[in-house]
């Protein structure tokens, strides 16, 4: 195990984040603030409480997840795609590193960035709505698990993408709908029974539900099931990455 290499990749990726700090932070914070103003303050004041929580507070976990998911995917996919695009990825292939070090470095950095963004949004939310967090430990654990598993997913997209369009396509066409239909802004129980069943195939539902449980102690789905689903998703991503590197698919000729 080449820890020095992991550290090298990690700090290089984090340097990119801090170099573009304003872009990295301002855009997610600004867009989430707008959500809080529109949904939390303007519309939210006319919506009843859900599960005993005011609507403004109810959407906080979902909005954090929305940013964290998209940020994890875009950070991780860009992180590995950019060297591929530049050609500087040759260094990773010719260095004494295996996929384990590469994944730890890139995914670790992407997950760290999105977790930081998640926490900044959480702090921003404090300015707009009153809420309390019941299970701090569970909240942080869910945040970390989500950041890691979706950074892994983003890493796969980055490796498989042939161009910038493909890089944008999955987040735009898959993740955004999944997050919006994943109960960020409503409780699953508000949907008609048929759509409730359909929703159970949406992995994001489990993330948001579990994350919201950590905040308010109430959830659409049992917390154990949520945890298990994230773990399954994470292992699928790890499996795909291991297979990709082992076979050299999309990496080596």
């Amino acid at each position: 195990m080449n820890f020095q290499a992991v550290r090298s990749i990690y700090s290089f990726e984090m340097a990119r984040f801090f170099r573009t700090l304003s872009q990295s932070l301002i855009s997610p914070v600004l867009s989430t603030s707008l959500y809080f103003i529109v949904f939390g303050a303007a519309i939210g004041s006319r919506i009843e409480e859900i599960d005993g929580v005011s609507y403004g507070a109810f959407i906080v976990p979902g909005l954090i997840m929305l940013s964290v998911l998209t940020q994890s995917i875009s950070n991780a996919s860009f992180g590995i795609y950019f060297p591929k695009f530049l050609g500087s990825i040759y260094e990773l292939h010719t260095a004494p590193v295996s996929f384990v070090e590469i994944v730890l470095g890139y995914v670790g950095a992407a997950a760290t960035k999105s977790a930081l963004i998640g926490l900044v949004i959480l702090a921003t939310a404090e300015f707009f709505v009153d809420f309390e967090i019941l299970h701090w430990g569970a909240m942080l654990a869910f945040l970390a698990l989500t950041c890691i598993s979706f950074s892994l997913f983003g890493f796969i997209i980055g490796i498989w993408s042939k161009n910038f369009e493909q890089l944008q396509m999955v987040p735009l066409l898959v993740i955004t709908p999944l997050v919006f239909l994943g109960g960020s802004f409503y409780s699953i129980s508000m949907l008609p029974p048929f759509w409730q069943t359909v929703t159970l195939f949406n992995p994001v539902v489990y993330l948001i539900s579990g994350f919201r449980w950590a905040f308010y102690g109430a959830a659409d789905i049992n917390i154990g099931v949520s945890l298990m689903m994230i773990a399954v998703f994470m292992f699928i991503c790890l499996g795909i990455i291991a297979w990709t590197f082992k076979t050299g698919y999309k990496i080596k000729t």
């Binding site: 020095q4 550290r7 290089f12 990119r16 050609g87 040759y90 260095a95 080596k252 000729t253």
Partner: protein
């Protein structure tokens, strides 16, 4: 001396059926400069890409310092530095950060004194804090070399180091390569410029269509394959070729009043003495005589066409 890089029965064919390498065998000795010479698409880059870990071989094996490049990739790659053909640098990274990053990838701690030494040798020290995108093309290439050297490799692969580079910069690169050899680094470079192989290589391997046609000491290659030409300038133009001179198969250029005689430089009998005797018998008066060694280019063209 034991080979530091050893390639055995290496083949590579792509899914489309294209065979990039055919059963290549090659031993590279420690401390030498080996030039892999061949036209574009001959398989030079594929060969070094397999040794460096960028491409998977279809069959055969390669070792560096005795370590298999696939099975013991960590040990093998620690010994290798690669300078790629295309300039591929993170544009916003500074030169010194780029070096630190690479050194880290190879599992080594930062060593400011060593990095300073490398950058100074490559005349990049004053640019250490410049972003790589601010550098000229020649400097970027030197940064790639510095990156390849910063983990102290024993073998350096240079893939077309002077492709698309102006004459001045090419000379500069050659000086760098010679300096590295003096420092004890084994160097393998690919090139399609014959003059490059001729200028800096100790041995030359000729590749064409995926086959390694031969590997020889540069001088041996030129001696073995080399033809010499003797150009004989005449006082008077020649109206007809005298019978006595026909066996020499001379080329006659009427414009320049010159007879050209080709002979093998290391043949047992060059035939020069008898040619002069016969020229004199035929009553031809000479004005000047000049001989020249055929270049690596002539040899190379002969080899590739003869195949």
């Amino acid at each position: 001396m034991a080979a530091i890089v050893s390639v055995k029965n290496l083949s590579k064919h792509y899914d489309g059926g294209f065979q990039a390498l055919k059963d290549v065998n090659l031993d590279i000795e420690q401390g030498e400069i080996l030039a892999l010479l061949g036209p574009n698409g001959a398989g030079k880059t594929t060969l070094i890409s397999i040794i460096c870990g960028l491409v998977k071989a279809s069959s055969g094996s390669a070792t560096v310092g005795g370590f298999d490049v696939v099975g013991d990739f960590r040990q093998a790659r620690s010994l290798i530095g690669l300078v790629p053909q295309e300039i591929a640098l993170e544009p916003f990274q500074t030169v010194i950060d780029a070096l630190r990053f690479t050194r880290g990838l190879f599992g080594k701690r930062n060593d400011p004194a060593l990095l300073k030494d490398i950058l100074e040798k490559l005349s990049l020290w004053d640019k250490k804090d410049a972003k790589t995108m601010e550098l000229s093309g020649g400097m970027k290439r030197r940064v790639l070399i510095a990156k390849a050297l910063c983990h102290e490799p024993r073998v350096l692969f240079l893939d077309e180091p002077t492709a698309g580079v102006d004459v001045e910069l090419r000379k500069e690169m050659w000086d760098v390569v010679r300096q590295l050899k003096a420092d004890g680094v084994t160097i393998i470079l690919t090139t399609h410029y014959i003059e490059e192989a001729e200028a800096i290589a100790d041995r030359v391997g000729v590749i064409s269509k995926g086959e390694l046609l031969l590997v020889e000491k540069k001088e041996t290659l030129m001696q073995r394959m080399g033809m010499r030409q003797m150009r004989v300038e005449l006082m008077q133009p020649l109206e007809v070729m005298p019978e006595i001179l026909k066996p020499y198969e001379l080329d006659y250029s009427a414009d320049e009043r010159t007879l050209i005689y080709s002979y093998e430089a290391n043949g047992e009998r060059t035939g020069i003495a008898s040619l002069f005797a016969d020229l004199s018998k035929a009553g031809i008066i000479l004005r000047d005589v000049e001989t020249r060694q055929s270049s690596l280019e002539d040899i190379f063209v002969g080899l590739v066409e003869g195949k």
